[in-house]
C-alpha cells in the first residue's frame, strides 16, 4: 500500500537534469534574463532612477504624493531611513537573486571540461561578467555586501559574512571577475546581447575608477589612488582605440526606439515584445514615470527637480554652464502658478540653455519626446501641489513608438536600456586624467561631449521649425572662456556628468564617489525646501547616508554574522 503515496511532480525538473552543456547554456540565458527582469519598485537596475536620481539633486520621486511608495519617499528625504525599511531589503533580495542565477550556471560548469563543453571559458566569462555587474551595484548601494561566488554549494551560502573582505578587497574581487571576462571574451560577440571584451574593459574601468576614491570607515574620501586611475586610463583607451565605438551624432539617438545597439552602446539590456511572453520582456523600471497625458495616464513618478532644470542654464555670452549662479533664480517658478493659465512669464528664449535640457525634462509648453505636436501641458501633472510641474522623458517612450507597450495603467518599452555608454567611458577617462593632474588631456574629451550636445538640436523644434529653447553650448577653451586648472576641470567634469546623465540614476553614486554627497545634497535641500514642503525634513546625514544600511532582515537571517554599516 505504501506505493500509493508515490507522487510524481508535474511540469518541473530536478537540479541534476540540468547538468548537460545544452541545459547549462540555457542556465546562462536565465542569468542574462535577470538583466531584463525589472520593475518599478525594487527591481530597477536597468534604469536605477530611485537609487541614483531621486536620492540626488536630479529628481523628485513624484507619483501620487509622498505616501505613494512611501519607502521611496523615505529614501528621497533620508531622515526616516532605517535598516528595517522594506524596500532596502527588497532591493538586496532582487540583486542577490539575479547574482544567484550566474552562480547557479557557474556551479554547473565546474564539473565540465572544454572537451565536453567547448564554450566553457566563454560561458564562464559571461557569467562572471554578470556576477560582477550585480556585485558592483550591491557595492555602490550597500558598501559592504556579501561576496558570493560559486565555490560554495547553495545550502552553505548562509554561512557567508559581509566583512570577509574590506572595501578595497571587495573592489578587487569584482575586478577579478571583469578581468576574467576581459581575458576570455572576444571583441565582438556573435549575439549582440552577450557581454564582449569591450564591455568587460568598460566595466573593469568603472570598477577601478570607483575603487580609486578610497574611503575610510566613515565613507570619507581620504585618498585618490593614482595607480588605479592609471588603470582606468589604459582600459578606457583600449575602448577608444580598439572598441569600435563612437558618440552618436545626436544625443537623442540614445533615447529613441530604432537606434538600439548603436555606436555609443557598450553594454545594454536587450528588451523585446511580441515574443511569446504575456506582456513582452519590456523595460518596466520607469513604467510608472509616464505623465498623465491622455495617451499615458499614469503615474507621473520621476520628476526632474527645479534645481536640475536650472543646471541646464548656460551663460549667454560664453555658452558655459552657470556653475555658481545657476540656482539663484528658478527658470520656472512655482510662484507663477498663481496665474495658472498664463505662461508668458516663463521665458526660455532670453535665458540660454543646454539642449540636453529638452532631451531630459518635460516642460510645459515644450514638445515632448521630439514630437512638435505633442506639447507638454500643466495638466499632465498628477500632483503639482506636491512635486511641481516638470516631467521626465529620457527613459520613456513616445506613445506612437513601436517600442511602446501599455500594460494596464503602466507603460513599458522594448527599447534597450544602456548599462554602459561610450559617453560615460569618455568622461571616466577625463575624470582619471584630471585627478592625475593631467587635466589638459581631459579637456578635448569633455569638449567632445559638449560639441555633441551642441549638435543635438535637430529634433528640438516646434512645428513651425523654430527651436524650442534658446540653445547655446560652447566648448571650454583654456585662457579664452575659462582658466583650465585642475580644480576648474574637476568642476567642469562633474557638471558635464550631471547634465549628460541627468535622471538616469547616476548622480548619487557620482556624488558619493567624489566625496561631496553631504554638502551637495544638504545645500540642495535647503534651497529646494523653500518651494517644496515635502522636502521640509529632508536631511542627508554625513558618514551615514552615503550607503544604504545592510537590511536588518538579512542581518537577522545571518544570525548576526553580518555587520551593519557605520553610522547605522
Amino acid at each position: 500500500c505504501r506505493d500509493y503515496l508515490d507522487f510524481k511532480p508535474k511540469g518541473v525538473l530536478s537540479s541534476e537534469q540540468l547538468n548537460t552543456p545544452e541545459e547549462i547554456d540555457k542556465m546562462v540565458i536565465a542569468a542574462y534574463a535577470t538583466l531584463s527582469n525589472d520593475f518599478f519598485l525594487s527591481q530597477m537596475a536597468s534604469v536605477p532612477w530611485i537609487w541614483g536620481s531621486v536620492r540626488s539633486d536630479d529628481a523628485y520621486k513624484g507619483g501620487g504624493g509622498t505616501g505613494d511608495n512611501f519607502d521611496q519617499h523615505i529614501m528621497e528625504t533620508f531622515n526616516l531611513l532605517a535598516p528595517t525599511n522594506g524596500q532596502i531589503n527588497d532591493i538586496w533580495i532582487y540583486l542577490y537573486e539575479n547574482l544567484g542565477r550566474a552562480n547557479d550556471a557557474l556551479r554547473r560548469m565546474e564539473n565540465m571540461t572544454e572537451a565536453n563543453y567547448p564554450n566553457l571559458k566563454m560561458r564562464q566569462a559571461e557569467c562572471r561578467f554578470l556576477r560582477g555587474h550585480w556585485h558592483f551595484i550591491l557595492k555602490i548601494l550597500y558598501k559592504h555586501p556579501v561576496w558570493v561566488d560559486a565555490s560554495l554549494p547553495k545550502e552553505q551560502l548562509n554561512t557567508l559574512t559581509n566583512d570577509t573582505f574590506i572595501s578595497d578587497e571587495l573592489w578587487n574581487k569584482i575586478a577579478e571577475d571583469f578581468q576574467f571576462a576581459v581575458d576570455n571574451l572576444p571583441l565582438v560577440q556573435e549575439q549582440v546581447g552577450q557581454a564582449s571584451k569591450v564591455a568587460a574593459w568598460a566595466y573593469l574601468a568603472k570598477t577601478r575608477l570607483y575603487q580609486a576614491y578610497e574611503q575610510d570607515d566613515n565613507n570619507n574620501v581620504v585618498n585618490i589612488n593614482q595607480a588605479r586611475l592609471q588603470e582606468v586610463i589604459t582600459l578606457c583607451n583600449n575602448i577608444v582605440n580598439q572598441g569600435g565605438r563612437s558618440l552618436s551624432p545626436d544625443f537623442a539617438d540614445n533615447f529613441l526606439c530604432g537606434f538600439e545597439n548603436g555606436p555609443e552602446s557598450i553594454f545594454s539590456v536587450q528588451y523585446s515584445q511580441d515574443d511569446g511572453t504575456q506582456n513582452g520582456k519590456i523595460q518596466l523600471a520607469t513604467g510608472v514615470a509616464y505623465n498623465m497625458a491622455p495617451q499615458f495616464g499614469c503615474c507621473d513618478f520621476l520628476n526632474p527637480s527645479y534645481t536640475m532644470l536650472n543646471a541646464f542654464k548656460t551663460d549667454q555670452v560664453t555658452g558655459l554652464p552657470m556653475m555658481d549662479t545657476y540656482n539663484n533664480e528658478f527658470l520656472y517658478k512655482i510662484n507663477t502658478w498663481a496665474n495658472v493659465n498664463d505662461l508668458s512669464t516663463i521665458d526660455f528664449m532670453s535665458q540660454t540653455v543646454d539642449p540636453r535640457m529638452d532631451h531630459t525634462i518635460g516642460i510645459p509648453t515644450h514638445p515632448w519626446k521630439y514630437d512638435p505636436n505633442f506639447v507638454t501641458t500643466k495638466s499632465w501633472r498628477r500632483v503639482p501641489e506636491v512635486y511641481g510641474y516638470l516631467t521626465s522623458m529620457k527613459a520613456l517612450e513616445h506613445y506612437n513608438s513601436s517600442c511602446f507597450v501599455k500594460l494596464g495603467p503602466f507603460m513599458g518599452t522594448s527599447r534597450n536600456a544602456d548599462i554602459i555608454r561610450y559617453d560615460d567611458v569618455l568622461l571616466w577617462l577625463a575624470e582619471a586624467y584630471i585627478e592625475l593632474g593631467q587635466q589638459d588631456q581631459a579637456l578635448p574629451l569633455i569638449n567632445q561631449i559638449r560639441e555633441r550636445a551642441a549638435n543635438s538640436t535637430g529634433r528640438l523644434v516646434r512645428n513651425n521649425g523654430s527651436p524650442i529653447s534658446n540653445y547655446k553650448v560652447s566648448s571650454y577653451i583654456n585662457g579664452v572662456n575659462c582658466n583650465w586648472t585642475q580644480d576648474f576641470a574637476r568642476k567642469a567634469l562633474q557638471w558635464e556628468r550631471r547634465l549628460e546623465f541627468s535622471t538616469e540614476g547616476v548622480r548619487f553614486f557620482d556624488l558619493v564617489r567624489w566625496g561631496i554627497a553631504a554638502e551637495t545634497l544638504n545645500a540642495y535641500f535647503t534651497k529646494e525646501k523653500t518651494t517644496f514642503s515635502f522636502l521640509k525634513d529632508a536631511f542627508f546625514k554625513k558618514n551615514r547616508d552615503e550607503y544604504f544600511p545592510i537590511p536588518q532582515a538579512q542581518i537577522n537571517f545571518s544570525q548576526g554574522l553580518y555587520k551593519q554599516n557605520k553610522g547605522w
Binding site: L5, D6, F7, P9, V12, L13, Q17, L18, E23, V28, I29, A30, A33, N37, F39, G64, T66, G67, F70, L80, T84, Y96, E97, R101, N103, L157, N158, L160, Q191, V192, G193, E260, S272, D275, G276, T277, Q278, N279, K281, M292, P294, Q295, G297, C299, W337, V340, S379, R381, V383, E385, V386, G408, P409, S414, S533, K536, D537, Q554, F557, Q559
Partner: protein
C-alpha cells in the same frame, strides 16, 4: 388517565410502570392508559423518550392524568462523530452540536455565515460576499502558522476549503478566492452540524484534524411522502456609509493642508480658487470656488460637480436576494429517498454584481436481505455563477474607489460617455461605475459534484462492514474580458480575453468494520478502518488580444487577432490512513474511549511519510450515580477529560521536492501590490526585439526529505450540566494545546538566491482557552421562552521559531514575537499631539515632529524615537467572543433576537490613516474636519497635511484602535399557522416570518478610541457586510 405534553398534545407510547414491579403498560394513540393497582401506596413511574420521567403516588385517585415536560437537552440524541455515531450523553470529547433551528431561516448560500457567535469556540470572520465566501474560520483560534482552516466531513467524505483561481486570475496570474465547501451545500439540505473541537474528539481524523473538524450530515427521506417548500426574499443594504467629503469640503481640506504645510494654496488651482485672508495660523478661508471644467476647459466635456458625485451612492445599491427551495422526501422500511432543489440569486449591493447558485441533491438508500445489506448514495450537484469583482487599471477595488474617488468628477461627461480623471489635481484612479460596467459580462462558473456511494453489510448481529467512495469534484470555467477604452487620461489600449479551466477531483475511499459488544453492564464498541484520498488538480489558461468589436458575443478566443498566450499546470496529493477506535461504557456512568490513527501523505519526505495520532478520553456521569438520585436540582452532570494528538499537512503538494522550472514569462506578475515581481528566464540575447526567445530555468525551492507531520497535543477538560429538570443547561470546557514541528516556509537569507524556499518543521506554539455555554428555558402559561448564550476565549502564543526567521515576524531587534500571538500588532505608542513649539522642543528627537503632529512616546527614554520605541499593542483576534440569544413564543408567534460581539480586539481603522495626510487627488472622510488646529486643540486627529512628514502611517495605537463591538445579528418574528387551519387546507405546516439582520452595532465612539469606519467589524475597504430584511414562507404537505 392520559399522558400529555405541556401543550396538551397526547403522548402515545409512553411507558407506565408500577414502581418496584414489572407490571406496566404503554399509552395508546390518544395518550390514554389503564392499569390495575393493588395498593394506594403504589407509585407510578411514567417515562417517555425526550421527556422528563415522573413518579406519581397513586393514593386514592382512580384517574391520573400526567403532563410530561419535554427534556430540551435531549441526551438521547444521536450525534455523528468520527466514522460513526454516539449518544450525546456518551460524548467524552469537546463536541458542539449546532442548533440549526435557530439559523434555518437566514438566507445564505453558506451555513457557516449564519453561525457567527453561535458556537462557542467557532470563530468566523464574516464577509459580505454574495457567494457565501467567509473570512477566516477558526476552531479554538490559531494553532499553526499557515492555513488554520478546519477539516470538513460531509456525509463521511472529507474536504477542505480550496483556493480557486478566478477569471481575473487567469488574466494576471494568480488572483484566487478561498472557497469553503459549505458554499455549495444548500443549508436546507443539512440535517446536522457537529463541531469537533478538541484533539481527543477529532483525532480519529488524525492527520488533518489539527484545526478542528466540522461534520455535516445531510437529510435522508423517511416516512410518508412529504413535500416541503421554503421561499424567502431579502433586501440588502451595506452596513453603514462612510461620511465622505463633497467637492467644497474637499477644497476646504486641501486649502487647510496647504496652509498647514506652508505651501501656497493656489497650487490647487487646477480644481479650486480660494478666497482667503491672512497666512499661517491666522489664515481665514472665506470662500472656495471649484473650477467649472475638469481638465481646464469645456472641451473636456467634464463639468466639475457641485456639491459633488456621491460615489458611494453610485457604486452601491439595494441588493435583493431570493432563495427558493423544494424538498421531496419519503421512505419505507427498506427504501428512503430525498430529492431537493435549491435556487439562490443574489443581486449584490454593488452595481452589475450578481451571484446565483442552483443545486440538486439526491440522497437514497435501500436495505436488502433482511436488513443485513444496505446500499445508498448521497449526491449534490451545484452550479454557481458569479460576476467577480473588477478592479480598476491600477488594481484598486470598487469599495476603495467608492470611498476615495474624487467627488468633483462626474459619472458621465456631457456627451453621455464615461467621465474619467483629467488634468492636474486628479488621481490616476478610474471611474468605478465604468469599471463595473465593462466587467459586467465577466463570469466565474463552477460546477461542483459532491457525494458518495456506500454499501453496508451486517454479516451477524452487532457487526457492520461499510465501504464508501466519495467524490469531491469542481470544474471551473471562468472568463475575463478586458475591454479597450479611454476614460479621461486613463486608457486600456488593447482588449483581451482570458479563459480559465480548472478541474479538481478528490476521491476518498473509506472502509470500516464496526462491532458492538455488550457484557452485562459493560458496553463496548470497536471500530477499525482504512482510508485513501487522492487529489488531482489541472488548470488551463488561454488568452488572446485584439478583438474587432467589443460585443460580448464576439469575445471568443478564435475571434481575436492579436497576441495569444497560454498556460497550464497539474498537481495533486495522496493520503493513506489506518485507524481504530474503542468506546467503553460501564453502566452509563463510566465512559472511556481510545483512538489511534496512522496516516501517510505524499506531501512529506520519503523518510517521514507516516505519522501516528493517538487519543484517549474518559467521562463520568455523576448524575447517574445512585447517591445523586436524591439531588433533585441536578438533572445531568458529567465530567469529561481527554488527551490527544492531531496533525496538519497543509503545505504545498510539492513541498518536499527540490525543483527547477522554466519561467518563460507568461506569468511574470505574481500579484498586484507588494508581489509584482518579474522573474522570467527568457532573454532576447540576439537583439531581435521580437520572436521566440531562448529561455533557461529557475530554481523554485529546495527539497526536504525529512519533512514530516506537524502535530498538536491537546488536553481538554469539560463539564456538562443540567439543573432544575434541565431548565438550565450548559457546559464549560478548558483546553490547552501545544503544536510542534509547525510547517513553515521561512523567508531566507537572500544570498542563497532564488529557490531558497524550503519547507521545514520549524516552530512551536501554544494555545489555550475556554468555552462556556448556558441556556435557560421555561414555559409560563401560553409563553415559552429561552435565553441562551455563549462565550469563548482563546489565545495563541508562538513559543519557538528558528533563530534566523524570528525577526521576519513583527518585532524589533530587542523584542520578538515569542510568547505573543501571531496576530499581534507591534507598533508605537502615541501621546497626543504637539500643541506648541515648547512641547515640540521638549520632546525626544522624532524626525518630522511639529505642532499639530502626533507625539510618539520615547519608550526606552534614549532621547530619540526610533524602531526601538515600539511595543506590543494587542492582537487582531478578540479576547472574548460572545453570543446572546432570546426566544419568546406566544401561542403561534415566535420572536427571537440574537446578539454577537467581540471584546478586546485591535482593529486598523483604515480610513483614519488618511486623516494624517490628505490623499492627493482623492477624497477622504469628513473626519478631517475634526483635525487639530490651534482653534481645535483637543482633537485626537493630527493637523491636515499633504506630505505626512511625521510618518503617521506607521503602526501605532493611533491607527490600531479598540475594535470591540456588539451587533444585533438577527431579529425575527415568525408565525406558524395553527393545526385547525392547516388541516382545513390539507397542509402539514405553514409558517411565515420576517427577519432583520445586522440592524445595529455598538462600538467605541469616544475620543482617541473613536472608530471612524462605519463598521468596526469590517473597517477596511473590502466587500461590506450588509444589513438585511427578509420575508419568508415555509410550507409542507
Amino acid at each position: 388517565g392520559t399522558i400529555k405534553d405541556e401543550q396538551g398534545n397526547p403522548l402515545p407510547g409512553a411507558n407506565i410502570i408500577v414502581k418496584g414491579t414489572t407490571s406496566g403498560t404503554t399509552s395508546d394513540s390518544n395518550g390514554g392508559y389503564s392499569l390495575g393497582i393493588s395498593s394506594a401506596q403504589d407509585v407510578l413511574i411514567i417515562s417517555f423518550i425526550g421527556y422528563f420521567g415522573k413518579e406519581v403516588p397513586v393514593g386514592n385517585q382512580s384517574t391520573i392524568d400526567v403532563v410530561l415536560q419535554a427534556d430540551v437537552q435531549t441526551l438521547s440524541e444521536v450525534v455523528v462523530t468520527g466514522y460513526g455515531t454516539e449518544k450525546k450523553s456518551d460524548l467524552t470529547g469537546a463536541v458542539a452540536v449546532v442548533d440549526l433551528n435557530k439559523v434555518r431561516d437566514i438566507p445564505r448560500p453558506n451555513v457557516l455565515q449564519t453561525l457567527q457567535g453561535r458556537v462557542p469556540g467557532l470563530y468566523i470572520e464574516s464577509s459580505g460576499q454574495p457567494s457565501g465566501q467567509t473570512g477566516q474560520v477558526l476552531i479554538r483560534g490559531l494553532n499553526t502558522l499557515g492555513d488554520n482552516s478546519p477539516l470538513y466531513i460531509i456525509d463521511g467524505v472529507p474536504t477542505t476549503a480550496n483556493d480557486v483561481i478566478s477569471g481575473r486570475g487567469a488574466a494576471n496570474g494568480s488572483t484566487t478566492k478561498n472557497v469553503s465547501p459549505l458554499q455549495n451545500i444548500d443549508p436546507n439540505a443539512i440535517e446536522s452540524i457537529q463541531v469537533l473541537k478538541d484533539a481527543s474528539a477529532a483525532s480519529i481524523y488524525g492527520a488533518r484534524a489539527s484545526n478542528g473538524v466540522i461534520i455535516i450530515t445531510t437529510k435522508q427521506g423517511k416516512g410518508k411522502l412529504k413535500v416541503q417548500l421554503s421561499s424567502s426574499a431579502s433586501f440588502q443594504n451595506r452596513f453603514g456609509k462612510i461620511d465622505a467629503a463633497n467637492t467644497i469640503e474637499r477644497g476646504r481640506a486641501l486649502w487647510q493642508a496647504s496652509i498647514n504645510d506652508g505651501t501656497d494654496p493656489s497650487i490647487h488651482s487646477a480644481l479650486y480658487a480660494f478666497d482667503y485672508t491672512g497666512t499661517g495660523a491666522n489664515a481665514v478661508l472665506n470662500n472656495v470656488t471649484p473650477v467649472q471644467w475638469i481638465g481646464g476647459d469645456p472641451s473636456s466635456l467634464t463639468p466639475a460637480q457641485v456639491p459633488g458625485t456621491d460615489w458611494q451612492d453610485v457604486v452601491y445599491r439595494t441588493g435583493f436576494v431570493t432563495n427558493n427551495n423544494l424538498t421531496l422526501s419519503g421512505g419505507s422500511e427498506s427504501t428512503s429517498a430525498l430529492l431537493q432543489f435549491g435556487y439562490l440569486h443574489n443581486k449584490g449591493v454593488k452595481e452589475y454584481s450578481n451571484f446565483s447558485k442552483m443545486n440538486m441533491r439526491l440522497n437514497t438508500s435501500h436495505k436488502m436481505f433482511n436488513n443485513r445489506f444496505r446500499i445508498g448514495q448521497n449526491l449534490n450537484i451545484a452550479k454557481t455563477r458569479e460576476t467577480p469583482e473588477p478592479t480598476d487599471l491600477g488594481g484598486a477595488g470598487m469599495d476603495y474607489l467608492a470611498t476615495y474617488q474624487n467627488p468633483i468628477l462626474p459619472v458621465y461627461r456631457t456627451d453621455g460617455t464615461w467621465a474619467g480623471p483629467l488634468g492636474s489635481g486628479m488621481s490616476d484612479r478610474n471611474n468605478p461605475l465604468h469599471m463595473m460596467y465593462i466587467n459586467r459580462n465577466n463570469k466565474d462558473n463552477n460546477l461542483i459534484l459532491f457525494g458518495n456511494v456506500y454499501a453496508e453489510l451486517i454479516p451477524f448481529d452487532n457487526f457492520t462492514l461499510r465501504s464508501s467512495i466519495g467524490l469531491d469534484y469542481t470544474f471551473s470555467n471562468n472568463w475575463w474580458i478586458q475591454e479597450k477604452y479611454t476614460e479621461g487620461f486613463l486608457t486600456q489600449s488593447v482588449n483581451r480575453l482570458s479563459v480559465f479551466h480548472g478541474e479538481r477531483t478528490n476521491l476518498t475511499w473509506t472502509n470500516t468494520a464496526d462491532y458492538n459488544l455488550q457484557l452485562g453492564a459493560n458496553s463496548l464498541n470497536f471500530l477499525v478502518g482504512l482510508e485513501t484520498v487522492k487529489e488531482d488538480y489541472k488548470t488551463t489558461v488561454a488568452r488572446k488580444e485584439d478583438f474587432a468589436t467589443q460585443d460580448f458575443d464576439f469575445f471568443q478566443l478564435d475571434a481575436g487577432t492579436g497576441t495569444a498566450s497560454s498556460g497550464g499546470s497539474r498537481t495533486g496529493y495522496q493520503l493513506l490512513s489506518y485507524f481504530g477506535k474503542v468506546n467503553y461504557n460501564l453502566a452509563d456512568k463510566y465512559l472511556a474511549s481510545v483512538t489511534l490513527r496512522y496516516d501517510g501523505s505524499s506531501r512529506f519526505g520519503k523518510n517521514q511519510q507516516f505519522g501516528l495520532f493517538p487519543a484517549a478520553n474518559i467521562g463520568w456521569r455523576i448524575s447517574n450515580e445512585a447517591f445523586m438520585s436524591s439531588v433533585d436540582v441536578i438533572s445531568n452532570l458529567k465530567i469529561r477529560a481527554g488527551i490527544g494528538r492531531v496533525g496538519n499537512q497543509k503545505i504545498g503538494n510539492l513541498a518536499r521536492f527540490g525543483l527547477y522550472a522554466p519561467n518563460y514569462g507568461t506569468m511574470d506578475f505574481r500579484d498586484w501590490y507588494g508581489a509584482w515581481r518579474t522573474i522570467g528566464t527568457a532573454y532576447d540575447i540576439n537583439g531581435n526585439n521580437s520572436g521566440i526567445l531562448p529561455s533557461g530555468y529557475v530554481a523554485l525551492q529546495q527539497g526536504n526529505d525529512n519533512l514530516k507531520w506537524e502535530t498538536t497535543d491537546e488536553i481538554n477538560i469539560g463539564i456538562d450540566f443540567g439543573f432544575f429538570k434541565n431548565r438550565i443547561t450548559g457546559s464549560i470546557d478548558y483546553f490547552t494545546r501545544n503544536t510542534k514541528d509547525i510547517l513553515i516556509r521561512p523567508p531566507y537569507s537572500a544570498v542563497i538566491g532564488e529557490g531558497g524556499n524550503r519547507w521545514i518543521n520549524g516552530a512551536t506554539a501554544k494555545n489555550n482557552g475556554f468555552e462556556l455555554s448556558l441556556a435557560y428555558q421555561n414555559t409560563s402559561g401560553p409563553f415559552t421562552y429561552s435565553i441562551y448564550g455563549n462565550a469563548a476565549h482563546f489565545r495563541d502564543k508562538i513559543t519557538n521559531l528558528p533563530e534566523s526567521v524570528i525577526r521576519s515576524y513583527p518585532g524589533n531587534v530587542e523584542q520578538t514575537i515569542l510568547w505573543h500571538s501571531q496576530r499581534s500588532i507591534f507598533g508605537y505608542v502615541t501621546d497626543g499631539l504637539f500643541q506648541n513649539e515648547e512641547e515640540v522642543t521638549a520632546h525626544a528627537a522624532q524626525p518630522g515632529k511639529g505642532i499639530g503632529r502626533i507625539r510618539y512616546k520615547d519608550l526606552n527614554g534614549d532621547g530619540k524615537v526610533d524602531a526601538l520605541d515600539q511595543t506590543w499593542l494587542g492582537t487582531t483576534l478578540p479576547d472574548v467572543e460572545y453570543g446572546l440569544g432570546f426566544d419568546v413564543s406566544y401561542k403561534n408567534f415566535t420572536l427571537s433576537a440574537f446578539f454577537q460581539g467581540v471584546l478586546g480586539k485591535l482593529t486598523n481603522d483604515g480610513i483614519k490613516g488618511d486623516f494624517t495626510r490628505v490623499n492627493n487627488g482623492m477624497n477622504f472622510g469628513t473626519g478631517v474636519f475634526d483635525a487639530w488646529s490651534p482653534q481645535n486643540p483637543g482633537s485626537p486627529l493630527p493637523a491636515l497635511s499633504l506630505v505626512n512628514a511625521n510618518d503617521e502611517f506607521r503602526s501605532s495605537d493611533y491607527l490600531f484602535v479598540n475594535g470591540s463591538y456588539t451587533k444585533l445579528r438577527t431579529l425575527q418574528l415568525s408565525y406558524a399557522f395553527p393545526r385547525g387551519i392547516l388541516d382545513a387546507v390539507k397542509l402539514g405546516t405553514l409558517r411565515m416570518f420576517v427577519m432583520g439582520e445586522n440592524l445595529f452595532a455598538l462600538k467605541d465612539n469616544k475620543g482617541v478610541n473613536k472608530i471612524y469606519a462605519p463598521d468596526p467589524e469590517n473597517p477596511f475597504l473590502t466587500y461590506p457586510l450588509t444589513r438585511n430584511v427578509t420575508f419568508g414562507v415555509d410550507l409542507s404537505f
